[in-house]
Symmetry: C2
Subunit: 425 residues, 2 copies
């Protein structure tokens, strides 16, 4: 039976989960995968962590050099997070010919070319299933399950924190602040929630997933990003009334005009498979030219789901040694000519305060018409003393047309646009 | 660039789709997968088919011997269906050292051990993603995506024909006969729909998926099977009223008592991800000890979705040549001690005609209580002249307890059980 030695860098949530799974399932993998996987060393400064996890003292390495020079280590698992240390350590491991399995989305998103060059040089493997959507095998699916397809679009709820917050706002009528506070209490949001609520986390993942789906590097800098911190409960409730559920959606598209990648709050029509993805669940919805629509759904984060992705990568690496693959089939130079679309098409939800006087609605309608924006549905919500709230949903149109229309409306004496939310179309 | 020669046996719906995808995407696979895949020969008796598909005459082989002895053929795609010819042809190909990709669920379900032995002998590959759930990469996911997990259960809507029929009955109030007729008209059901509506097709697939999930051969003969031909629109409507949607569900479980595999009509509570899987869509819902709940959703049949699965297998085979894997990690002898559970646990929906006289409902309740069956909800539907219709849903209980209760009820003068449908619990 093949023996595989594993080193784990960082015993935080994900590294700890990986340690637990590997130690508890060792006999199971011997029986079912014909491979004996042993954790031979760990790198962790916090004594408390390796005590909690029951890691024998003799497994704790002093430094990364000890790890990468250890001849018993075949696979290095990187669960440090961040860039500073992780980048150097992963390069050290790859340069030493060790296969690397990482859960680090920021690292892989920003430095994949560098890491892949290093891996190729020493014929080491480089695996990153755990970087996107926790235990959901979306990377494996893109590489080995739907690779026969031209993928035209990828739509995902790929951040559990924001999905939990939006679910509480939508189902329980909570304010953003209260929902965020609850998410923190439950461990779904960090003390500084910026990376999640402002869409950075989703944007890293979208960059990785789009790069695989569209066979070209999609840099993080090209991802349009808008978070959920400005979302009001009023808009969520209005959307619900019109049959929509609000999600922080990551959208990647490959069109004749180029590649389009964006993360922003989005109303999804109820009945669409993504609309029902609640709480901290995640899902990715793909469209391929042969396979049609495919969706993968599951837990996008957490100790054991993300650990499951890491261990699945370890087993894959151990049992597929003959087939190192180059992740991005195009190389860095081929990425030069890729076009990115910024004036994307979408439908839009708008909430406006309209002056309550004869002809105001007609004037408003004319302003939309002038910008070639047609309206699917419009609802006059309530009357203040001399104003009314109007919510409407447009047909699919260009972002610039909507921006122009908003500027004109706000410059008029007819109405004021209070909020704009994109609608999945 | 690596060159791969493909032979296609059978140019029906799936074989034809495979031919189309391979010829239309040849340059795409050169660019993105670094492999040049060419259809070098086909075996098809129906001249009309290769004319429709534009297959050059010189590609048409006279017989299977010509195919398997062709040195340019590396991979043989079997899309013949059935057993008689397919079994022999696939064995011929494997014995000649050709890698086989098949969409044939009946063949793989019944003869996987034989085929795997042949494949091992000549170190040929054997791939069968297309045998289950069309383009949805469920086999790849079980083998390479969630293999770090003990899978405890697998629940699937894995037959598109029956899901289409049940959707029409549920959403449009159609009778079974009308919905079946429409499914035939649309090409979702065959002239003889037995394999689909009586659950054979789903049972073949469940046998394959459970074998992979539970790491032991689960024979077709062990799958409990009940079709949808006896389902009345009245029961579907009653279930809808109680918040359930009826699905033909395939369920595989690994419990302390053994393995449990069954295909039968099942009420799924609305809000469960499987309840929203409508029309001809399919989905498989897995539970793993680390990853938790994972669902894969997509088109379970059709020319291009199933062709997508075949071509993904071809690409995988071409790019992972160093890693032939043994599909079932246990061998045939290890399967001997596997226990199968037949007295499975479930919740149940019952519709009864109850005598309309004082104390009848009390007597009925007592009969359930005597068999240790507790009732979640009960609804008296309508009163006839001297009888009423009662529908109820039980808590999770044993199948034998329900059978005993039904026998007692039908033997009493209190009520008669009109229908029994299992409820996902």
């Amino acid at each position: 039976m093949k023996k595989v030695g594993v080193a784990i860098l960082g015993l935080g949530v994900v590294g700890g989960g990986t340690y637990k799974i590997l130690t508890e399932h060792r006999q199971f993998y011997r029986d079912t995968q014909n491979v004996d996987i042993e954790v031979v060393t760990v790198l962790e400064r916090d004594k408390g962590r390796f005590e909690t996890l029951g890691v024998p003292q003799e497994l704790v390495a002093k430094n990364v050099f000890e790890v990468v020079s250890n001849p018993d280590v075949n696979i290095v698992v990187e669960c440090l997070g961040g860039i500073t240390e992780a980048r150097g350590y992963v390069l050290d491991a790859l340069n030493a010919g060790k296969t690397v399995v990482t859960s680090n989305k920021e690292l892989f998103c920003k430095y994949s070319h560098e890491l892949e060059r290093a891996a190729k040089r020493t014929n080491a493997g480089l695996y990153f299933e755990a970087s996107c959507v926790g235990g959901v095998p979306i990377i494996r699916t893109l590489l080995d399950g739907v690779q026969a397809n031209h993928i035209s679009s990828i739509q995902g709820i790929i951040n559990g924190t924001t999905n939990y917050i939006l679910t509480r706002m939508s189902k329980d009528g909570m304010s953003y602040e209260d929902a965020l506070a609850e998410a923190k209490k439950l461990g779904y949001a960090e003390a500084d929630p910026t990376a999640d609520v402002e869409g950075f986390d989703a944007a890293y993942k979208l960059s990785i997933l789009s790069s695989l789906a569209f066979h070209t590097k999609v840099p993080f800098a090209k991802v349009f990003r808008e978070g959920i911190s400005g979302i009001s409960h009023e808009d969520i409730a209005n959307g619900n009334g019109l049959g929509y559920t609000l999600k922080l959606l990551a959208v990647g598209k490959q069109t004749d005009r180029g590649i389009e990648v964006r993360v922003h709050p989005t109303f999804v029509k109820n009945g669409h498979p993504l609309a029902g993805v609640d709480e901290s669940f995640n899902a990715v919805f793909l469209t391929g030219d042969s396979v049609g629509e495919v969706m993968l759904y599951g837990k996008g984060a957490g100790e054991l789901p993300t650990g499951s992705a890491i261990v699945s990568d370890i087993i894959y690496a151990a049992t597929h040694e003959g087939s190192r693959y180059s992740t991005f089939k195009n190389n860095a130079t081929a990425d030069k000519d890729v076009k990115f679309v910024s004036d994307f098409e979408s439908a839009y939800y708008l909430r406006l305060t309209v002056t309550d006087r004869a002809g105001a609605l007609a004037k408003l309608a004319a302003l939309f018409a002038k910008n070639n924006i047609s309206i699917v549905e419009l609802l006059q919500k309530s009357c203040g003393e001399d104003s009314a709230t109007v919510v409407l949903v447009t047909h699919t149109t260009h972002e610039t047309a909507v921006k122009n229309a908003i500027a004109r409306i706000n410059g008029s004496d007819v109405a004021k646009v209070e909020s704009v939310i994109r609608v999945l179309s």
